[in-house]
Amino acid sequence: MLSGGDILIRCLQEEGVDYVFGYPGGAVLHIYDALFRQNRIQHILVRHEQAATHMADGYARSTGRPGVVLVTSGPGATNAITGIATAYMDSIPMVVISGQVQSHLIGTDSFQETDMIGISRPIVKHSFAVRNAAEIPLAIKKAFYIATSGRPGPVVIDIPKDITNPTDLVEYEYPQQVSLRSYNPAAKGHTGQIKKAVTMLMEAERPMIYAGGGVIQGNGSAELASLTRLLGYPIVNTLMGLGAYPGTDKQFLGMLGMHGTYEANMGMHHCDVLIAVGARFDDRVTNTVAKFCPYAKIIHIDIDPASISKNVTVDVPIVGPVKSVLIEMLEVSQAKIGKRTKTQASRLAEWWAQIEGWRKQDSLHVTPSADGITIKPQEVVQAVYRASQGAAYVTTDVGQHQMFAALYYPFDEPRKWINSGGLGTMGFGLPAAMGVQMAFPDAAVCCITGEGSIQMNIQELSTCAQYGLPIKIININNRSLGMVKQWQDMQYEGRHSNSYMDSLPDFVKLAEAYGHVGIKVERLADLDAALEQAFALKDRLVFVDVIVDRDEHVYPMHVAPNGSMRDMWLKKGVRT
């Protein structure tokens, strides 16, 4: 016989949970007491509940295991909402336990009461309102199963305070397995469709592989690389898919989409067969949907049937886990690859020649500042790449720095690039990096951020001090909300409405106030040394505040509205 609070913690132990990210409060005090009386799960105390969800998210993205969050009712729950929505948009497995007021007070507008199930409904994969202690084990079992299977996502479990009461004991048994008659994610792809897709791929003259975050979530990177190499076709990754295919490989054309490379977007526009793998034809990828890939037959592999033909109608849908579908595709392709005709081979060679021509555009070329002193933001990312030998976990916030990081730090492995792609959450980077560092204490973890974003969860420097997290924060400081400013430059005749960051703190002093190391860099000549110093301080959090050119824009950039993928701004005032 156990109390609801103890049962909850036992269930989390059964699920192999090692960290719970959270913040205590009235409605979860019984649960916190149960946590205190055990030592298998470590609780990480954040400074704001939003950070707890992002930490759990960073932990989940880097490990592939679900992140677990514990918050109290009312404001604790609502503060978690942004992080839950972030995880939902990027299909990240997460289990969020929120306290609720006592059962008899629900619906009476009692202290710290909020309808968490209602508020979170549109941004969760599922949620459970637990009504008595005996229901806890099954709810937890189902929550972890739902969060981690199929297309992953966050699951909320709302638990009223009275059912965790230490004096009310019930029988405890943890279910060994769970099945839901209404939830059966596809276990494998349709073999007929896979064969059809391979035939289409074999006959392609201008093929393109478009791989997204689903490849990483579905642990299909190795299979994707094998298939891509076997076929010898060009490949692009989405923002969420970076690292799904090695970023330094010759067949890789870079990121596609709004800020994709010239060769990636041109290749997409002109291809005749497109295979989308774990990608969802997001509006930041397609530009104007009606003008998307006008010459292409489209194959789409996705675990989520609702992703198929949602934005772009596809010719060959394959619903199934990316990994098993790719394995099957690889087998079918190996049998057929030898039968490709000479004509097909020469057409493919012509296609590559065309792509190499686009590559010569060198759309990511960085022109150093004329004075030789001012640092360009792209140069910061390139320097971080050098200092970390391209091997760091990199998290970002949202804005120009995020795009620069995506474009100038090639990732050769999955799960090393961690950013909020779908929701675009400023304030994500630092707590996400903390989650990664908890999971990989000895790894180099770096948060590339901006002076706008970092201030949205800057309080977590305190959490970093408490748990000794030696994150490298690279603050690309242009004293502006850079992406907002860029759009205002391009679309609002340079009227910078509220895009300046006035009254910035002295970030070095701020870092030092929390007990960390702060370094300010203002000259290009000092950049590499400062970053080397930062990465050499293996056991300290280092906040590197890099003052950069405030007028730089991110290019290439899709021309919008009404542009196709090939319509891009290549630099200020220069378009395709």
Binding site: R121, K125, H126, R181, S182, P305, A306, S309, K310
Partner: protein, 163 residues
């Protein structure tokens, strides 16, 4: 195009709000909605009508299927089906109107289920079109109140929606 989507879902608290929330969240419209438990008390059957193109209805059914509590669903308008809606209509029935209202009701096979000196309450079942037609036929009368149940439906023949 008008669609009738019938959904079997777990008879659990919160399931209905997920379905309704989905429609609001994804900018689909609901024209009518009706829901009640079935002969299997663990299941509810929800029927809704919406106006959607083929592509939209494909998305709607896929998104509905994604909801964990949705067990099975069918777009009844995909095949032959029977649809029924119940209407209760309270009309002013005085003087010459009293006989006229009764006559119109009889033509539509309505039943007068409540009577006062000044009013009739008529019950009418049928397709939504028929109910609309009845309301048009009653346009000369003073309609005091109209209550419609929303559409229920079932496939014709041996095709069934069951677990």
């Amino acid at each position: 195009m008008r669609r009738i989507i019938s959904v079997l879902m777990e008879n659990e608290a919160g399931a209905l709000s997920r379905v309704v929330g989905l429609f609001a969240q994804r900018n689909y419209n609901i024209e009518t909605l009706t829901v009640a438990p079935t002969e299997d008390e663990t299941l509810s059957r929800l029927t809704l009508t919406t106006s959607a193109s083929d592509a939209e209805v494909e998305q709607i059914t896929k998104q509905l299927n994604k909801l964990i509590e949705v067990v099975k669903l069918v777009d009844l308008t995909d095949g032959d089906h029977i649809e029924r809606e119940l209407m209760l209509i309270k009309v002013k029935a005085t003087g010459a109107q009293r006989a006229e209202v009764k006559r119109t009701s009889d033509i539509f096979r309505g039943q007068i289920v409540d009577v006062t000196h000044n009013s009739y309450t008529i019950q009418l079942a049928g397709t939504s079109d028929k109910l609309d037609a009845f309301l048009r036929a009653m346009s000369e009368s003073v309609v005091l109140e109209v209550v419609r149940s929303g559409v229920s439906g079932v496939s014709r023949g041996e095709k069934i929606l069951a677990v």
